[in-house]
Structure formats: C-alpha cells, structure tokens
C-alpha cells in the first residue's frame, strides 16, 4: 500500500500539534502532587501495572507484528504504540468501569515518567529486526540513507510532550477551577480533532480505508484488546481486588496516543512517517470504541463488588477507620472478601 501524498497536510500537522499540546496540558491540569504520593501507596498495583504495561504490551505488539506479517513501518509503529505510557482517558474509563481511579491516575503518572527511560530501551530491543527491513526497502527505492530508530529524538520528543504536562500541573496548583476547565476543554478538543483527522483522511484519501489490508486493522484493534485481557488476568493472578483489576486492565490497553503522534511527527521522516501515523490514527480510533464496550461490560460485572467497596469505604469515612461492616452470610460472592482494609483506601478521586 502506497501513500500517494503525505497523509497529513501542514495544516493538519499544526492541528495535531495543538491537540497534543492541549491534551497533555489537560492531563497536567488533572494532576496534583498528591497523585505522585498515591503512587507510593499502591506499590503492588503499580508494580503489576508496570509489568503489564512495559512487559506485556510491547511483547503483544511484537507478537502481532510477526504473526500478521506486517510491513516493517507498521510493525515499528505498532511496537511504538505497545511501548507507550498509559493515556489520560484511561482514568475516565476506569471511573465509569467502577475501577480504582486513584490507581489509574497513579499508574498513568508513574508510567509517563518511566517512559523516558523505558521507551527508548524497549524500542531498541523490539524493533531491531524491522529497522533493517526498512533500510533495505529504502535502499531498493534508491535512497542512500540507513534507517535507524532515532533514540535521541524520541527522548527529546518525550521531554517536549512533558512540558505542557508540567504547565498544566502548575495551573492546577494555582487555580483549581481553571484547571478543571482546561481538563474538560482538552478532552473535548481531543475528540473534535480526532474526528476531523479521520474525516479528512477519509475525504482526501478515499479508498485508504479500503486499501488498508485487514491484518493492519486486526493489529490496531487487537493490541488494545490483548492489553485489556492480560492486564485483567495478570492482576487476577496476583489476587488484587476487582476494582484494581479493572483499573489495571484498562490502563494496560489504553495507551497515550498523542505521545505516539508527537514522536512520529518529530522523530520520523517519510516514507515511514505516513504509514506510522496511519496506524496510530487507527489505534486511537478503535481504542475508544473497544474501551467503551469493555467499560460497559466491567460496569455490569463490577456492580456488586464496587457497591460493597463503596459502602464499606463510606462506613469508614463516617463511622471511623476501624469500623467493620458485617455483611450477612452468603451476601458477598467468594471473590470479594469482607476486608476492612479495602475501605481504608482513599475514596475515589473525582471532583
């Protein structure tokens, strides 16, 4: 599949940059110093989240690329997506999926910071086979440059992306109300720009959707789904409580798309750039749909355990930390222990 022209016109690139900026700014606006402290409060959850985010996800991406025999540029993009830190939307999905929002925020925070180190390392490790293939393609096409993963550029882009996050945090520390507005505006703008980009991609490259081979769709959809599935199993294996399981599952599957866009735009050039962007766009589109369904599903299955958790924590809030709620025998399903410590976790963050 060939891209006749650049996938994005300069105006789109500006828009995309604006979106990245505002989304990352919005992410910062929702963060406080306390969120970093929360990271320390959930060491187990964070560790398991870390394992599934930086351990499992890149592996799935690599596995999918190999099994589906993706063209090298797509393979690199998929692995790049696999190595991304968690996205801000995961917090919102965790909230509606009746998962632990505090853990979700802590994981997003931790993984964004960790990404500075982990991403270059993982990319180097997993993309080795594909960079050569790209180089060969380029040589065959007559270019005399060799394709390498631009590690330095990637680190720079990551830093650049973190600047608006820091600005957002600063705003949040100054004015809560404005930060809230910034956060919502960012979420809204993100959706608008994504819809615009998909729309224009459709309009300008009619047939692009049809030309794209099925394997690329499968890869874009499955990488997220595998993340949800294994994130859930992994935390189940470690016997975390259901609200943590749901948070980790969503956090693993939902990656920070805007960072992928930033890295691709800033660090990669044609001919791979357009192909990589296309996969990132596909991933960003499908992940919204799949996580909506997963969230609806979690919401249903998690109803009882969430309500027990909520009720217990409100009892602790009102009747004292050491109050133990004694549910009648047979009321709680086997998996939910009547554990008073469950209630002493800080209540769900959302204001």
């Amino acid at each position: 599949m060939e891209f006749p022209t650049q996938l994005l016109y300069p105006i789109d690139q500006v828009l995309l940059a604006l979106m990245i900026f505002s989304i990352m700014f919005g992410m910062g606006s929702s963060l406080t110093v306390d969120d970093f402290k929360t990271v320390a409060r959930y060491p187990r959850g964070i560790l398991i989240g870390f394992l599934s985010q930086f351990g499992l996800m890149p592996l799935f991406a690599l596995g999918l690329a190999v099994v589906l025999e993706l063209p090298p540029a797509y393979a690199i993009a998929l692995i790049l997506i696999g190595c991304l830190p968690g996205g801000t939307t995961s917090n919102m999905f965790a909230y509606f999926a009746r998962g632990s929002v505090a853990l979700s925020i802590a994981m997003t925070t931790a993984s964004t910071v960790m990404a500075l180190m982990m991403m270059p390392l993982l990319l180097e490790l997993y993309t080795a086979g594909f960079t050569e293939a790209v180089s060969e393609e380029m040589t065959a096409a007559g270019a005399d440059a060799e394709f390498v993963i631009p590690t330095g550029n990637i680190i720079t882009s990551l830093f650049l992306v973190l600047v608006p996050v820091a600005m957002g945090m600063f705003l949040r520390a100054k004015s809560r109300v404005w930060a809230k507005t910034a956060e919502d505006t960012a979420g809204f703008m993100g959706i608008i720009v994504i819809i615009y980009l998909i729309g224009t991609a459709f309009a300008r490259h009619s047939g692009l959707m049809l030309q794209t081979p099925g394997s690329i769709y499968i890869a874009a959809i499955c990488v997220g789904l595998l993340g949800f599935l294994f994130g859930y199993w992994m935390s189940w294996l470690f016997r975390l409580s259901p609200i943590f399981q749901r948070a980790i599952s969503l956090e693993t599957g939902i990656q920070n798309g805007p960072i992928a866009f930033a890295i691709i735009l800033l660090s990669f050039a044609e001919p791979v750039q357009s192909q990589m962007l296309w996969l990132a766009i596909l991933y960003s589109t499908f992940i919204v749909i799949t996580s909506s369904f997963i969230t609806l599903y979690y919401r249903r299955v998690g109803k009882l355990d969430y309500e027990v958790y909520k009720n217990t924590s409100i009892h602790n809030r009102l009747f004292g930390e050491d109050y133990v709620t004694g549910y009648p025998e047979g009321f709680l399903p086997k998996r939910i222990k009547n554990d008073p410590s469950q209630g002493s976790t800080p209540s769900q963050k959302r204001d």
Binding site: D184, G187, L318
Partner: protein
C-alpha cells in the same frame, strides 16, 4: 436479587431484620460532618425489646394508642420499634404540632402514655395538662436534667425493661406472638382539611403489603438519606422498606443536605417536589455561573440527552400517551426515532460521560434513582432530572392508602405520569357528574383509557377507616373502594396520570394544604366581589380569580356598564387589591401561606349549569379548565417579575 424481608407484622419485621442483618448499620445519626453514629439492626431490636418490656411494665396494653411526638431521629425509630414489639399502636406527629392539635389528638386517641421529643415540647404539654385528663405518663427521648412525677427518660425505661428481661421477662415476645394482621400499627392524624384532624387507622397488613409491592430493588450496600418528616406516611413507608432490605438510613436535614449528599453519597432518596425544585435551581445557577465553555458543553449535553431520551422513551413505549395514536403513525415514526437514537448515541455517550456525570456528582453521584411524592412534581423539573440521568420515580398515594397507589418503575419511566399501579391494586376512574365508572369500562373505547374522572382505589393498602368517625369513613370508603378525591386518568400505556383534585383543597408547591373555602367566603363578603375562586395547586402561592360586582362598584361611584370593561378598569383593580389586603391578612388570623398574592378579574359572570351547580356551589375543575390560560399567565408573569 431481591432479598427484602416479607413479614406478617411490623414486630416480626424488626425481629427478622435483626436476625438476618445482624451487625449491619440500620440507622445513622449525624454528630458532625464526618462523624456519624451507626446503630445496628441487632442493637435496634435488642434496645427495642428492652424499651417494650419497660412500656409493658408501665402498663401499656396491647393495641393501646401510644403518642409519639418527635421529629426525625434514631430514638423515633427506637420508640416505634418498642411500641410495635409490645403490640401497641403509635400516634405520631412532629414537633410543629399546634396546641390545639395536641389536645385534640391526645384526647381523641385516648392516649395515656406518650413519647415526647424534648423538654420544650414537654413544657407545652405540661401547660396543657388540665385539658388532657387521660394522659398519665410521658417518656422523654432527649433529656438533660431530672424529671418530675409521671415523666421518664427513655434510657430509664430501657434499663427497667433490661433488668426485667434478665430476670426472664418474656412478655414482649408474647405480645409479638399475639399481633394479628388486622391490628393497627399506627394511627396517623392528617392535618385537618375541614376542621378537625382525622385519625387514619393503618394495619400491619396494610404496611406489609406495601413492603411487598414497592417496585424498587435495594440491598445492604445501599444508603438512603432521610430528610422528610418521619411521621409522614411517605417517609414512614420508606423507613419500613429500608429495614426490610437491610439498608442503612442516614438522618439528615435541609440545613446539612448539601454536605450530607456529598459525604453519605446516598444511592436512593425520597423527597417532596420542593427539594427537587431547589436542587434544580442550584444546578441551573451553578451552570449559569460557570465558564462559557462549560455552559456551552452543558447545554449541548442537555440538548443531546433530550433527543436521545425522547427517542428512547418512544422506542420503549414510555412516551406519554394521553390519546390513542394510530398504529400506522407509530410504525412510521418508529424508524425515525430508531435512526435518531442510533445517530445521537455516540455523541450522547461522550457528553454523558464528560459533562453530565459531574452534574450528577453534585447530587452525591451515587444516586441510582430518587422518588418524589407528597405533591405533583413540575414537569420541567421532572424532565430535567430524568434527562441528566437521575431517574425520578414519581409516585402517588395518600395517608389513607399507606400510601403508595402507583409509582414509576426505574426501567420504564413515563414522564408526566405517576407510573403504573402497584401490584394487587385496582383503580376506577369515576365520572364526577354522573358517578358512572369510566375506567375500566368495556363499553367505552379502549376500556375508558384517556378519560378523566375521580380516582377510586381498592387494594390491600387501603386503611381500616377513620378512628371514631364512622360518618367520614362511610363517605370515603364505599364498598371496598376508597375515594381519593383526586382527578386522574389511565393513559394508553396503563399509567396513572394525576390531573388535580376534585376536593377543593389546594396543595401549594411548598406542600402546605390550603382550604380555599373560608378565604373565598371571606372575600365574597366584600361589596366589590361577587364570586371568587382561589387557585395555586402546585404553585408557589395562592392566587384568585374574581368576578367583580357591577352593583357594588356602581354603589360606590364607579359606573361601568359591563363586566368586561370593569375587569379592565385600573381603578377597580386597585380597589380590589386593597380589599384583599385588608381582608386576608395575618392580623386577621390567616397564615402566611394563605395570603392571596395576586388575582385576575374575570370578564364573565359564573352561571348556574356552567360554573355553578344548582346549589350555587362552584364547579372548581370546570372553572380551572376554562381559565387555565389566565391562571398560567398570572403565575408566569410573576415568575418573570421575581427573577
């Protein structure tokens, strides 16, 4: 998973709840914002048994009427529990009871023993002692100092019962075993519509049938915030229902409501329309004050939600159906609604999550549904809450039906109605003029749906009668049918729609019951006024429609040939305004909610056969219908002036 306890009587319910829910909190009392005292089901039952034994020792007989004059607090429930456990009947009223009502109720119900909330109320009763010959013992629910002869602290009565039970006293248990379903559990005096209060006799079977049919599912992870007066049947049935479901009730009040909504995060709540109205205004105000970007987001979200919900209601068949709609029209509309629903769904989904959820959080965030009763909920407020995703289950009932007759169901909300009838309940719609049954009537098209008339009810919740008032009982219960005095119709999707009252009582938005006749009678004594009818059902205050007297004005020097001209005359308006102010004032003995705030002069006289019966009584609903436009205009203009 419905696990409510179905018991034979109230005492059984308290006992079974203690057995099943054990240490779960049953009631919680606020000490500070974040400090609440829980009492478990076991504790409640245990203390109730002790108090009951104490009461028996004090001489309370089975089926005796015990007074309970207090507002919402845990001790109220404890007292109720004790009264039930000793097989007696409580006669509840709040602290706002007047001296006249105290005397009437205590004497009429032959109360010998009464619970009294605090020393202030005790002093009032003591000062009325000469007029209360039968009252012997008073138990204080809240006491600081020493008590005098015949007055006991409730703790002391509990201690008395406790020591007796330690010695093997099982009289309370025996009393429980002796309770019959047909025995009264409470005698509620409704604040008088015409003069004296009436004692509504409700039986254990009445209340237990309600627990069975309430179409709401709660379990022991739910939290209910209580703000309505507990002696009111609407709140009472709720507390009984929450006990049967193992739900903890948190006692709040209007002053702390905002805080408590945030901290308790109730999952369910019952309230009167007034609360929903104030919450509605608060939310609108907050939106109005926010950043323009957020306002825009909110209005977009609300718009989308309206589109989405309306199509959803149509698809579910839950739109308001007052008239028969042809199948063809519905079939044609169906794909359009389905299309709109599908198209709006994804965008609505986003806005629901991003914009409406924070709005819902301002109402605690955990509310699964809410119930509104005790008056009609203004339709725009009803819509607002349902559109933003807080389902409002409006219900209909009265003290005489303990109280629920109909209530909306969570998954099938028809806005504009009070939902389908609860199980085992039958309704008749009876024509006001002819007394003919309109619904169910197979001779009429659609069995009589869509026709308006007075609502008659039959079912297990209908009271035994009015205490010692056979005349009123016979007037209200005819055969096995209870006349509600309300106007209504059955919609085409089998919901009950309330259309007003056939009785003349005007219920203001604040819930105050207003008897218009005395005021109207007073006003028609003015030489300037021929006829006068008060309006204001579900409105903020009372208004009047007045037929001015041509004669009266002529006699006093204002010569106008026709009523039409007189009704537009500015001088006449002024004269009548001062007349109303003079006649209906607080210094003349009227209450503040009875003051007539606005009026309209009518340009046509009332005529016999139309607006008047042959006995010159006003046909209120006909006048209301005829001048509904004028009435609406009067209230609209005012709300415009106020804001």
């Amino acid at each position: 998973m419905d696990n409510r306890i179905l018991a034979n009587n109230m005492a059984d319910l308290y006992r079974e709840a203690a057995r099943r829910y054990k240490s779960l909190p049953a009631f919680a009392t606020r000490r500070k914002k974040l400090e609440w005292d829980p009492v478990s089901f076991e504790e409640l039952y245990e203390r109730g048994l002790n108090l009951a034994t104490g009461l028996i020792e004090m001489g309370v007989d089975a089926r005796e009427h015990v007074g309970l004059f207090a507002d919402n607090r845990f001790e109220w429930i404890l007292a109720d529990c004790a009264v039930q456990l000793c097989g007696a009947v409580d006669v509840p009223r709040g602290r706002d009871i007047t001296d006249g009502e105290l005397i009437y109720i205590i004497n009429h119900a032959e109360i010998r023993v009464t619970f009294v909330e605090n020393e202030t109320l005790l002093e009032r009763i003591e000062s009325l002692r000469p007029e209360l010959p039968e009252l012997q013992q008073i138990i204080l629910l809240e006491s600081t100092g020493d008590t005098s002869e015949g007055v006991h602290k409730h703790e002391d009565v509990i201690k008395l019962g406790q020591s007796l039970r330690k010695q093997g006293d099982t009289r309370a248990e025996e009393r429980i075993a002796g309770i019959q379903p047909d025995d009264l559990f409470t005698l509620i005096y409704t604040s008088g519509t015409t003069g004296k209060p009436k004692g509504v006799m409700l039986t254990h079977a009445n209340m237990m049938s309600q627990v069975k049919v309430i179409p709401i599912e709660l379990n022991c992870t739910d939290r209910v915030l209580s703000i309505l007066p507990i002696w009111h049947i609407f709140e009472r049935v709720f507390e009984v229902f929450t006990i049967s479901c193992g739900v903890c009730t948190y006692y709040s009040n209007i002053r702390f409501l905002a805080d408590d909504l945030k901290n308790v995060e109730p999952t369910f709540m019952g309230s009167a329309p007034r609360l929903w109205e104030s919450l509605y205004h608060k939310i609108r105000k907050r939106v109005g004050e926010s950043h323009w970007m957020r306002q825009l987001l909110f209005h977009t979200a609300y718009f989308l939600s309206r589109q989405y919900m309306n199509s959803l209601y149509f698809l579910l068949g839950s739109d308001l159906k007052l008239k028969e709609v042809s199948k063809l029209k519905r079939t044609l509309l169906l794909p359009l609604h389905a299309l709109r629903w599908i198209l709006v769904l994804p965008v609505y989904g986003f806005f629901n999550v991003a914009v409406l959820e924070p709005v819902r959080l301002s109402a605690g965030g955990s509310l699964k549904a809410t119930i509104s009763g005790g008056g009609a909920l203004p339709v725009e407020i009803d819509r607002f809450f349902n559109y933003i995703g807080i389902p409002v289950l409006e219900g209909y009932g009265m003290t005489e039906t303990s109280p629920v007759i109909a209530v909306r169901e969570e998954d099938d909300i028809v806005i504009g109605t009070v939902g389908p009838l609860v199980d085992h309940t039958e309704v008749r719609i009876v024509d006001l003029e002819s007394g003919k049954t309109l619904y169910p009537n197979p001779e009429l098209p659609d069995n009589g749906r869509g026709l308006r008339g007075e609502i008659y009810v039959k079912g297990p919740q209908v009271m035994k009668g009015y205490y010692k008032d056979d005349e009123q009982t016979a007037k209200t219960i005819q055969g096995s049918w209870l006349r509600t005095g309300d106007l209504g119709m059955i919609t085409f999707n089998d919901c009950l729609k309330i259309l007003g009252r056939s009785k003349s009582t005007v219920v203001l938005l604040s819930g105050e019951n207003l008897e218009p006749e005395p005021i109207e009678m007073r006003l028609t004594q003015s030489v300037y006024i021929d006829h006068c009818i008060l309006v204001g059902q579900d409105k903020k205050h009372v208004g009047a429609l007045i037929v001015p007297s041509l004669e009266g004005f002529k006699d006093n020097g204002l010569h106008v040939p026709t009523l039409e001209e007189l009704s537009k005359n500015e001088n006449a308006q002024k004269v009548i305004r001062t007349e109303i102010k003079k006649m209906i004032s607080i210094s003349n003995g009227f209450k503040s909610f009875e003051l007539v705030k606005d009026f309209r002069l009518l340009s046509e006289d009332f005529t016999v056969g139309d607006e008047l019966t042959s006995l010159f009584k006003m046909k209120r609903h006909i006048i209301h219908d005829k001048y509904s436009g004028l009435i609406e205009e009067m209230y609209q203009q005012e709300s415009a002036e106020v804001t």
